[in-house]
Symmetry: C2
Subunit: 264 residues, 2 copies
């Protein structure tokens, strides 16, 4: 799909913010723990689907919170897996480093979503997670979670289901990468963001993207210039208005149709 020359590898896209985040720990601030039961994200996050008494058990663990500045890493590829992380606020991107130093984005995470489950496979994180804006997370010790789940099938089920959801999510991304053109990819991406914004009480049709064109491109398997051109193309079709990172989905239905019709 792409052309490679040594020259293009040298001029490869690097995400400058991640360079700034090398000493992530130093840049984070620990804050006081918060109980899940009073968290405004409890219906989106880990407690979702759990009975009241189970949520109270979660409260007992008193997850540590941490704030991150844009560009700072939460965990890095290869780090020992100890925690899974729930996004309290802000947006993150996950990605794996390629041999030449570039990073392939594998996911974006919004408030209430969990990160880090990939670390379970081999005991070390397979991806790095980086904050795209001011952000805060809850650090959930995995060992504690399994302990808590030991005598509790409901709890176990939640964890398994969360992981399965990751698998399904990635299935659809694979479909996207494997069989859609640029407009469809960007369309699917925007509609997905739209739904997630809506689920969080924000407008489904107007929002600010937190990630750069290069990051979107990496995620969708296209170059940043193509992302930019595709935004313009969709705008010309009257499907959306875009101004840098501000997006208004002018014709949600039309956009959906574009995506669904052109699955090929």
């Amino acid at each position: 799909m792409n052309t490679t020359t040594p020259a293009s590898a040298v001029s490869a896209v690097h995400f400058s913010r991640s360079a700034a985040g090398e000493h992530a720990a130093a840049a984070t601030r620990a804050t006081v723990p918060t109980p899940c039961s009073t968290c405004h994200l409890k219906d989106l996050c880990l407690p979702c689907g759990l009975a009241g008494k189970d949520v109270q058990r979660l409260d007992g663990m008193m997850f540590a919170r941490r704030k991150l500045k844009p560009g700072h890493g939460l965990y890095r590829q290869g780090d020992k897996f100890q925690f899974i992380y729930a996004v309290r606020s802000g947006t993150f991107r996950s990605g794996l480093a390629l041999k030449d130093g570039r990073e392939q984005v594998t996911a974006f995470h919004m408030a209430g979503e969990l990160m880090g489950l990939d670390g379970l496979a081999h005991g070390t994180h397979a991806t790095s997670a980086t904050a795209l804006e001011d952000a805060e997370i809850c650090a959930i010790p995995y060992a504690g979670l399994t302990e808590l789940a030991a005598g509790n099938p409901d709890m176990q089920n939640i964890i398994s289901r969360l992981m399965s959801r990751e698998i399904v999510r990635e299935h659809s991304l694979m479909m996207l990468l494997g069989s859609m053109n640029a407009e469809e990819r960007l369309g699917v991406f925007l509609l997905n963001i739209s739904q997630r914004m809506k689920a969080r009480g924000y407008s489904a049709s107007e929002f600010h993207l937190r990630m750069s064109r290069a990051e979107i491109g990496s995620y969708l398997g296209m170059k940043l210039e193509t992302v930019s051109r595709t935004f313009s193309a969709l705008q010309q079709q009257g499907l959306l208005d875009v101004d840098k990172k501000h997006v208004r989905l002018a014709d949600l239905e039309g956009l959906t149709r574009t995506v669904e019709m052109r699955v090929h």
Copy 2:
């Protein structure tokens, strides 16, 4: 990446064997259960990493076995999720149906590998699984497994780790689809098959592919003609010999280098 016209949608690739497998259940034969502890696949499969007594507990469940003929479905997208399946012999492909009736291949499964974990997310299978040759599976009732895991953290851990492994596997596939060209994709694919063959005691450098060019193409996000041409190109470079489905990796190291150098 692809071009779409109504005409191309009509002439889309269909996997003929799956059409033959619509009444999958009728085509399968139940066979007597087998204990895990004496299974020759126990080091690759579910019991891998479990202590002796835990394996014996698995034995107690006496998983039903089932044989499938090539092209016959094990489960279909949308089926209720009740079992996960371990491949005893043969090869399977998993895939999701696109709106236009084509199927996007998401995985190939070999002996000792598990299928069906994607069903956990929503209680129904997100993919269909189809045998590519004569095959046999163990049907593992998920409910029984969670029961067994309830008082047993080791067991739980195994399940979680298996799921996490799926996530990591798909990460690398995404990387492949998002940032590699045709030669690299096919190279990665072949090296992956090679490793899995080796792990099963077969030759790492010479094997029969069980899937068609179209299936490989769907999996790798390219057209069947491109798969064929890419095989020819790699052969011309002296990296492999290919004759229909028989492949000999003549220069494993060179192939690896091709893949690693050209990550871009």
